[in-house]
């Protein structure tokens, strides 16, 4: 029970959270974030109503916008699933961004530089290498985290910068396409290394990879012994120890798969969208995924829904850039959204009452 400063309101813990709160709190949070966003827009002299309408209709209103939203939903979903797996064990993998870049790097290597020719085997090989690279990149952090408890938040984040610089080095240096008019791009992938698309849209088969991972994740978390172990370890590492669950082994495994799934997102971006490696493979998907995973409460199916919403936010953000709104506004909205969701937790697990007339304690 705490007293809100400056008021006579008391916050008390509820015995069990209201199930409806899990939907109402995110919905109110989105509204409040948009409201504060409107305040900033109005402050800089923009018509916030017009901008929000343009964002919404741009993202969901036309068939072009709608398919683009799905195109953005794919990497967001896959990355969020990867991040959520680690979060389940209270492992803060903030390195999704770097793992995406490493996945894209390894997939590109498989597609362009591995001497086995091009055929049906190219795509599975790219998937395997992309996931392996993302997983290994996370493993660099997972091992010291498991053995000595080295803070994984900072180390995973540091490796993001390293991975991005590494990809930049390749595309500006040794992997630059000689026929590319000096642009920082690799050569285009051979046909076997390009994910098929639905119709003539840009929606690619990465969509099915994402759905597959979602279902797999659901089964692993809900119906396997390992999923149960992760859940127990996440809730209390000492309880897990008493139950004979190896924390070290699970930290390493969970981080590896978390990174591998993020690596898959990178692979599907180069094989499905760009068809080559270039700077900016990910535009902050690894960071956005953190919010999505949190908002979706780590539920794999909710992750798809929230990713779709955030995909729309990004597409809408691009659309309004023509009217002078910087892309950073979407980042700002996302940060605010997370603030409100955090504040809203209070309404999920606590109730607010008026303090009694004569305070029982001071």
């Amino acid at each position: 029970m705490i007293k809100l400063p400056g008021t006579n309101l008391l916050i008390e813990k509820k015995l069990s959270p209201a199930p409806t709160a899990f939907f109402i709190v995110p919905a109110i949070s989105i509204l409040l974030a948009l409201l504060v966003g409107a305040f900033f827009l109005a402050l800089s002299g923009h018509n916030y109503f017009e901008i929000y309408t343009a964002m919404f209709s741009g993202a969901f209103g036309s068939s072009y916008g709608f398919t683009e939203t799905i195109v953005k939903t794919i990497p967001l979903t896959i990355t969020s699933l990867g991040i959520a797996l680690a979060f389940r064990m209270q492992l803060w993998n903030i390195g999704g961004e770097g793992q995406i870049y490493m996945g894209a790097f390894a997939a590109t290597w498989a597609a362009l530089f591995f001497p086995i020719g091009d055929g049906w085997w190219t795509m599975p090989f790219m998937i395997m290498l992309g996931m392996l690279a993302g997983g290994m990149w996370a493993l660099i952090i997972a091992i010291p985290r498991a053995i000595w408890g080295v803070n994984e938040i900072i180390t995973t984040l540091m490796l993001n910068y390293v991975a991005i610089l590494w990809v930049n080095y390749l595309v500006y240096g040794p992997w630059k396409d000689p026929q590319g008019y000096n642009f920082p791009l690799t050569a285009i992938f051979p046909p076997g290394a390009i994910l098929p698309t639905i119709g003539d849209s840009r929606i690619h088969a990465g969509l099915f990879l994402g759905l597959l991972i979602t279902v797999l994740m659901y089964i692993v978390i809900q119906h396997t012994r390992w999923g149960y172990e992760i859940k127990v370890s996440g809730e209390s590492s000492s309880a897990a120890r008493y139950a004979g669950i190896s924390n070290k082994k699970n930290i390493i495994l969970v981080m590896f798969f978390s990174g591998a799934i993020c690596g898959l997102a990178g692979m599907s971006e180069v094989a499905g969208i760009a068809h080559r490696l270039q700077p900016g493979v990910s535009i902050g998907y690894g960071y956005t995924a953190i919010i999505i995973a949190w908002l979706a409460r780590l539920n794999p199916f909710a992750i798809i829904l929230v990713s779709f919403l955030f995909g729309g936010m990004q597409v809408g953000g691009y659309i309004v850039q023509t009217s002078g709104i910087p892309a950073s506004m979407v980042t700002m909205l996302q940060g605010m959204l997370l603030f409100f969701v955090l504040g809203g937790e209070l309404l999920t697990y606590y109730k607010i009452n008026k303090a009694p007339a004569s305070p029982t304690r001071q």
Binding site: I2, T155, M158, L159, L165, N168, Y169, L333, M336, F339
Partner: protein, 310 residues
Amino acid sequence: MSQEIFIAILATAITAGTPILYAALGEVLAERSGILNLGVEGMMLVGAVSGFICALKTANPWYGLMMAMLAGGLLALVHAFLTVTLRANQVVSGLALTMFGTGLSGYLGQSYVGVPLPVPFKTVPIPVLSDIPVIGPVFFNHDPVIYLSYLLVPALWFCIFRTRAGLHLRAVGENPAAADSMGINVFQTRYLYVIIGGMLAGIGGAYLSLHYVPSWMENMTAGRGWIAVALVIFATWNPVNALWGSYLFGGIDALGFRLQTLNVTVSPYFLKMLPYIFTVLVLILVTKRNLAGRIGSPQALGLPYDREER
């Protein structure tokens, strides 16, 4: 390496380390009170952009610095409200703060990208001291913000370890329930130091846009806020160690920069990786050492305090 280059690298190490130092000192205070603030990167960015815009409009870098303090403090206040009053998850709130700060700074600074600052902080050699060989040009040929940090480090050390207020701060971070029963206001203390921490992070960011660069670029902190958070662990929550740590990181940064101008054949991309790789290595080594010894983080770091549950 000739002596001039060596001195130049050391002097640049201090300039490059100063933004990290300010941010790290702020984080030392916040973490000492038991609140982990991962929003340092965001607070630095907002400090950098608001300080820059203010200095540009008022033609006075000092006003810019004050504006940056105000902005950093306000953002920290949001974190304090969420984590202290509402007892929200400190990790997620800090990440939200960094994201919000990154977005906000990009939004505010949109029309200022690449604009040069006509009134940056100027180098003011300290008379007599700056004439000492080696030490003079390395330490005493800088701008006032650096001299201010020379004073701030021992002052903070003294406050934390030798005063009553510092004792209270440490008590709140180690054992808030005990501190509470001693009559220390845990909530007020945490608010205070989180906000001061944000103000210092704001100065760190503004130092980049008001002296080190001096102009505004999107994401110009480039992970320095995160390096500052890592540095606090390296410094074992001690301002004096934070000073050496910051200069060490500044030195790595400066070395990469210098090697580029010396026609070293290593790709600049690898040189730019140095501070990040170094941070990871240092963190691993320091955590290993701290595990072996008894130097640990404040006991209550990251844990919300609830009077009911004590």
